[in-house]
């Protein structure tokens, strides 16, 4: 895919390799984004997502391979690139307004342009009333919204977001995603890493990364269609007893609550065996359509 990437490729990882001492954080990772794509990067802790984003932002050097943004090295197009790191991207002792002002000066925005954009971002994020509050006195969700605003001030063509919604409450999380969709519709190319599988499902395409390599890549519905294990909900039985029985069944790849019921991912062909283990407890399995989280759990168990 990297060899004949489409002409509109705006962001490209080509066989990226990066070692830290004995640890290989990136092990030949490659993918390409077309203009206006919303691309999700998911994977377990330590899979290399943050390292990949740092490489694409030109913040670290690669041992092998390369990162290309708008056809060039990231360092060469920094003013067309936006980055929201996972933590501490703002000055904690500066207010909301002062942080925005600082970033506008960093990108040497004309004052009139800055005022117009800041006003719009403050309106969308509803941070307007908190202009004078210091960054370190903001709640987690407000801090993330301000960090996103600062990354958007110079209206980058390409935006890199490293787990932008960690610690953000469900209401603010929805608002942040609505904002992202708005910018993508305006033609911005966005790469976002996330531990939330419902967010991954909202991306146009997703890459599942494991041990610095690409495990899967594609549109979420297509990836889910390729789910090879079995997904069920457990009906009946007492939850704790059912949970213990599931924990003891080797075919069970993962179990998690879905409302009052338990949702189970079972290795291909293992459904009958699990059903037999549940039946003395008065519980049975009902097949359900797999979602992205089921896919994630199934593919990672396979890769482990």
């Amino acid at each position: 895919m990297a060899a004949d990437a489409p002409a509109a490729t705006t962001l490209e990882a080509r066989g990226m390799v990066r070692r830290f001492g004995a640890v290989t954080a990136l092990d030949g990772l490659g993918f390409a984004l077309a203009r206006g794509e919303l691309f999700g990067l998911v994977g377990p802790d330590g899979a290399g997502k943050t390292t990949a984003i740092r490489a694409l932002a030109g913040l670290i050097d690669l041992d092998e391979g390369e990162a290309r943004v708008l056809g060039q090295r990231p360092e060469a197009v920094r003013e067309r690139l936006g980055l929201m790191p996972q933590q501490y991207s703002l000055y904690r002792d500066l207010s909301v307004g002062e942080n925005l002002d600082f970033f506008s000066r960093l990108y040497v925005l004309p004052r009139a342009v800055f005022r117009r954009r800041a006003e719009r971002l403050l309106e969308i994020t509803r941070l307007g009333p908190f202009l004078d509050r210091r960054a370190d006195a903001l709640s987690g969700g407000m801090y993330k919204k301000l960090a996103l605003s600062c990354a958007l001030l110079h209206e980058p063509e390409v935006l890199l977001l490293d787990e932008p919604t960690n610690g953000v409450d469900p209401v603010s999380r929805r608002e942040l995603w609505a904002l992202l969709h708005e910018f993508v519709e305006g033609g911005m190319t966005v790469l976002v890493s996330t531990p939330y599988m419902d967010e991954a499902e909202r991306c146009g395409r997703v890459a599942l990364v494991h041990r610095g390599r690409l495990l899967l890549e594609g549109a979420p519905p297509a990836l889910i269609a390729g789910f090879e294990d079995e997904a069920y909900e457990v009906r009946g039985g007492e939850r704790e007893a059912v949970d213990r029985a599931l924990g003891a069944a080797p075919a069970v790849l993962a179990a998690s609550p879905a409302g009052e019921r338990l949702r189970v991912v079972v290795a291909r062909g293992g459904g009958a065996e699990v059903a037999r283990a549940l039946s003395p407890l008065g519980a049975r399995l009902e097949p359900v359509a797999p979602d992205f989280e089921d896919l994630f759990l199934s593919r990672l168990r396979e890769a482990a």
């Binding site: 802790d45 610690g167 409450d169 209401v171 419902d198 499902e201 909202r202 993962a254 009052e260």
Partner: protein
Amino acid sequence: MTAYAIEAEGLTRRFGEFTAVDAVSFQVEPGEIFGYLGANGAGKSTTIRMLNGLLAPTRGTARVAGHDVARDPEAVRAAIGYMSQRFSLYLDLPAIENLLFFGGAYGLSGAPLRRRAEELLELTGLAGQAGAITGAMPGGLRQRLALAGAILHRPAVVFLDEPTAGVDPVARRGFWRLIRELSAGGTTVFVTTHYLDEAEYCGRIGLMVDGRLVALDTPAALKRTWVPDRVLVARGQGLGPAAAALRAVPGVRSVEPFGAGLHLRVDPARVGEGEVAAALGAAGARQVVVERGEASLEDVFLAVVGRGAGGPEAAP
């Protein structure tokens, strides 16, 4: 004397003009998993800091593990474990050294401390990681190490402030297995989270809005009270742009994105699956499937937090 593990009565904290926690009252039974939910800035962490004896209440009282948090904060701190949002581990130390350090702070020493530290590494699935440098461990493992540090001294009550923030789905499941084992062993767990699927494991849940505790019940009862409408789930292509048209359909009370699909709350007397599918199709969505769904805690959260402190009767 009460046998509650945690008991708060009119607990209030002001910072200048700002009331972070406003007359909060609740009781938690020993061994219960109690979830404390709310938007960022709603007052969850401030409540925890008061219950931990780290911050004095402006008004009201709280007893934790039998000790008054204002009068006897030292006794409270000795009886509880606390895992903060930015949990404090020494990143340059091996995993086991962090546990030995925590144990020392709680007055454990020598062979019993080492035995207990090894026992906890085993319990948290970190037995092979004793010598690993903490800073080089993946986030999910580090979080389990922080939990091990918080329960080393066998506290009666543990406070976990967003213990799974940023943890991947596999590690989150492992972490909650530990929490439930703790609870089954009699430890009281007070936990905050923004992952509402895992909040289903809580026996009861309190929901905070702007410093006030506006809802407190079991997950099932919260759903019955706060989401009495019928929930429909729509899947298909091009749902995003079509969602706006759906909001204009009479009888549709709310439309929220859930993953790639939509969750709707509707008046069943006025709207059914067929009307929703037709409205989405007319607005340009394709391959639409609409099914009856079950209210989730996320629906409850949106109903409570979106509606503020008016209570369920304030529903439109």
